[in-house]
């Protein structure tokens, strides 16, 4: 499927695009990059950033944009701003830009209520459609959810969603239950979170035969949008039309809440694209171009977006309250303190840690200044990444395209949320993006965060967005494919290296696998990987080596227990990581043993400056 993107609302400029300034207005920081045509190719030349200015005293997202661009002006010597205006097109070699483009994820979350008839069928489908579109589902109401009618009505009355998605019934089936739910909603007179006179957007995506009755019951009371049934027949889901409607209403509704957004639209030479949609474009492009299965992640301040392409099928989920600043406290709440602490290689009392996390939540633009603060943020990031992938795995079944085919037998299995498409053994590449991954002081920190959070199996390549510019390139690719590709290949994608991770468990120090690495220059490195060991072998970005691994009998590298494999492995700025810690990854439960294990692993890969580990 293609990534839903807003329809162009104004024509893109016709003059040649030689100088481009692009911003991403994140929930925390506004990042600007300058792209210039150098000879025949486009290069990213300067970047600037500034806090996103949704807070007082500015309360105008464009202030942050202008501040970030002003930084580029200072660094590049190019005059881009004329007061609060962007000079476009270029007037001469050092004045103006040819186009300004932007993505935005400011605006907070989208809160939705969804309804179905059978809770674990249409109710679950509606939930997955909403979640997949980036919403926080505040409740799932269904005819059989165990609540009495008046309890359902009371619940609808007390909730203040941004939007409701109604589903229920297969096309041509009984209309009674879905009409009943419409009656409950009508009686409850639900009101949106914002605006007293604003009609609550309500998407009906249920039995098409009930559309006339639903229109009659709800047409006056809500801003009703009718779309295709998300479950036209029992064994087929059709989530895309409902999800696209959610997406449209999200852009019209939630993003409009971000102060100054209307001005931003005026400033930009192309439609503002939601950040996840722009990143999705890039992720899908990588997978298609290189014919591989990938998982991509964009971990931001408020949300973590996970993308996957398996066997050509694209999925995207947005974990709305997993992030590193605004949502950092929610990572603690969801993961639990113990899960965060397990990654911290020193002792810190619970009270201090909890207070620090809350202080980051209330002052989201701050950055770690000391090494222990950095390590705590990296620990939290591991958990945010892990939880977001669990979320993605649970929903990937429903997001794989316009339609999803299921057999009748699968239908009964989906009570367990269906079978996930994410197969870590078939995964070729993990792509990381977002502040904590792109701006980690050492690239190996990004690599280990992703390895620890995702626990890749077998042989997996890892890469990271160099300075966080995937959103910018995503929107750029919609107006100039060549410019986006040039910059992506040369300046954006940084290959970290390859992780080789045997599946199985063993006692620390016991043999896990024997390996033979043949380097491009003919050099051969033979060795033994022990359980509990992590080994980092230098292999440059442009190099490819061959690795033959013979695991011990209870260990699997994808070909079966004890079966050897030979693979080409790609290098990167970090290199080849042999991870003998076993899968699933188990950390010692004893505090001292865990700290010792973390210290050993972190030192093995030179994760942090040595004196402080």
């Amino acid at each position: 499927m293609s990534v839903p993107s807003p329809a162009p609302t104004k024509p893109v400029t016709t003059h040649p695009l030689n100088v481009i300034v692009a911003t991403d207005c994140g929930s925390t920081t506004t990042k600007a990059i300058l792209i210039e045509k150098v000879g025949d190719e486009y290069r990213q030349t300067y970047r600037g950033e500034a806090p996103t200015t949704v807070e007082a005293p500015f309360e105008d997202v464009t202030r942050g944009v202008l501040n970030a661009i002003a930084e580029i002006e200072e660094l590049s010597g190019r005059k881009i701003l004329d007061g609060d205006k962007i000079i476009s097109p270029c007037r001469d070699e050092k004045t103006g830009v040819d186009i300004y483009i932007s993505t935005s994820s400011a605006g907070g979350g989208l809160q939705m209520m969804v309804t179905g008839v059978v809770q674990n069928m249409t109710g679950e489908s509606a939930q997955r459609a909403a979640l997949g579109a980036g919403a926080i589902v505040i409740d799932v109401l269904a005819s059989n959810d165990g609540r009495l009618p008046h309890e359902k009505i009371e619940r609808i009355r007390t909730m203040r969603p941004d939007m409701i998605l109604m589903s229920g019934g297969t096309d041509g089936g009984a209309v009674t239950h879905v009409v009943e739910m419409a009656e409950y909603i009508s009686a409850a007179e639900p009101r949106p979170r914002f605006g007293a006179t604003y009609k609550l957007p309500l998407i009906y995506a249920g039995n098409k035969d009930a559309q006339p009755q639903v229109r009659k019951i709800l047409g006056e009371k809500a801003a009703l949008v009718l779309t295709d049934n998300i479950r036209p027949v029992l064994e087929r889901e059709n989530l895309a039309p409902a999800r696209n409607k959610i997406h449209d209403l999200f852009l019209e509704h939630v993003m409009q809440q971000a102060p100054g957004y209307k001005k931003l639209i005026e400033m930009a030479g192309a439609p503002i694209m939601p950040t996840p949609a722009a990143v999705g474009v890039i992720m899908e492009t990588i997978a298609k171009r290189e014919h591989l299965n990938l998982i991509g992640v964009d971990i931001g301040g408020a949300t973590t977006d996970v993308f996957s392409v398996f066997e050509g099928l694209f999925n995207r989920t947005v974990s709305a309250n997993l992030g590193m600043s605004y949502s950092i406290s929610n990572v603690l709440a969801e993961a639990g303190l113990a899960n965060i602490m397990r990654w911290v290689p020193f002792t810190i009392d619970e009270q201090t840690l909890r207070n620090r996390i809350k202080n980051k939540m209330v002052r989201p633009t701050t950055i770690p200044q000391t090494l222990d603060e950095l390590q705590i943020e990296h620990a939290i990031a591991r958990e945010a990444l892990r939880l977001a992938l669990i979320h993605h795995k649970s929903l990937a079944t429903t997001l794989k395209g316009i339609q999803q085919e299921r057999t009748i037998s699968d239908v009964f299995e989906q009570q367990q949320s269906g079978k996930t498409l994410i197969d870590m053994l078939k995964l070729d590449l993990i792509v990381g993006s977002g502040g904590i991954l792109s701006h980690a002081p050492r690239r190996v920190q990004s690599m280990l965060m992703m390895v620890d959070a995702y626990e890749p199996l077998g042989v997996t390549k890892l890469s990271v967005d160099s300075i966080f510019m995937m959103p910018h390139l995503g929107v750029l690719s919609t107006i100039d494919e060549k410019a986006a590709t040039d910059v992506f290949v040369r300046d954006c994608m940084v290959y970290l290296g390859t992780c080789v991770a045997p599946i199985g468990q063993g006692k620390n120090g016991e043999r896990c696998a024997d390996y033979v690495i043949t380097f491009p220059d003919g050099r051969v490195d033979k060795g033994q990987l022990a359980f509990g060991d992590v080994r980092l072998i230098p292999l440059a970005s442009d190099q490819k080596a061959s690795i033959a691994i013979q695991p011990v009998k209870q260990v699997n590298l994808g070909a079966g227990a004890g079966v050897s494999i030979t693979r080409d492995v790609h290098g990167g700025v970090v290199g080849l990581m042999l991870d003998g810690r076993g899968r699933p990854l188990q950390l010692p439960t004893d505090h001292a043993a865990r700290v010792a294990a973390l210290t050993k692993w972190y030192q093995a890969v030179d994760l942090y400056p040595k004196s402080d580990v």
């Binding site: 949704v54 005293p57 009674t176 009409v179 009686a187 009101r191 007293a196 006179t197 207070n355 809350k358």
Partner: protein, 377 residues
Amino acid sequence: MAHSYTPGLTVTEHTTVRRRRMLSLPGSVLVTTGEVVRANQAVARAELPGKVYPLNLANQLGVAPDEIHEYLIKKAGDPVRKDEVLAENKPLIKWLKTEVRSPITGVVESASTVTGQVLLREPPRVLELLGYVDGRIVEVIPQQGVVVETDCSLVQGIFGIGGETGGEIVIAVTSPDEALTPAHLTADMKAKVVVGGSFISSDALARAKEIGVACVVIGGIHDKDLRALLGYDLGVAITGTEQVGFTLILTEGFGSIPMAGKTFALLSAHAGQQASISGATQIRAGVIRPEIIIPKQADALGDHGIAAMPQREGIRIGDQVRIIRDPLFGKIGEVSSLPADLQKIPTESEVRVMEVRFADGSKAVIPRTNIELIEGS
């Protein structure tokens, strides 16, 4: 590179604030533009539709849904009293007769021939919207609400819980670095806005609740005490609807942090005066910070010049700043240098920094994103 700094919280003796007071559903506005209103005065009113009670008549009468109209005694729109007969069947033998009585007093909202359901609705409940601050109505939005303007002193907090309240300001401690203990809290603080110093402990929170204070304004609190107070771990800073017995406003953050001297001095100067309080916090787009608004006395509500808040263009040498991240969290100093080049900090990140000079003459290099301007000076 003067652009990377975090705007601070406003603490100012004299400003003008406008507060938009909106009904959650359309209703009627009770005041007119130019009218002087009090904080506890209703400025608009709406009727919240009553609770709905569904009754499945088709099931109860044992008839098909599309037949229910034949059995209904009360039609849609009719008023109905509790236990009044709503519908009945007409059997040949009288003792087989089934009557369905109304469980509530209200009106018949609708009767569906698709589901066989009748919806009954209780009478509406009147919702009154208060003025929130003593001030003057500067705008009326028909059917929706008003904008109240007030000439006031304003203190913004960093984080709060609980909704709008108000009361007389009482200073419970002697200095901004003194913690608020149960011993500081006395019965005469009931319904008042109690200003503490650096920290409030869980037992002092319990005491505040027991006394029935309207609001506690404090430098800091431990997260674990907040969790105990709320009964859950707060994930996202969107608050304002909590009901813990009082409104709580943190001026500095989490932990034990002396209240900024300026904040404490301002609140102390207004001890005994009435304040309007909101604990609502939303640290997302369209940020909302908790606030303490102290309107100028009634005789000062006349028209006189209001000093407009200057729009800050960026940070400058000499500005007062608060450090908002460990290891010097909470310290206040003055900007002494703004180097343009990126500098490597202990995490190995290369960031823009500033040099801050503290009162004792010591200096520290701090990432620019880790300070906040002390606004409103």
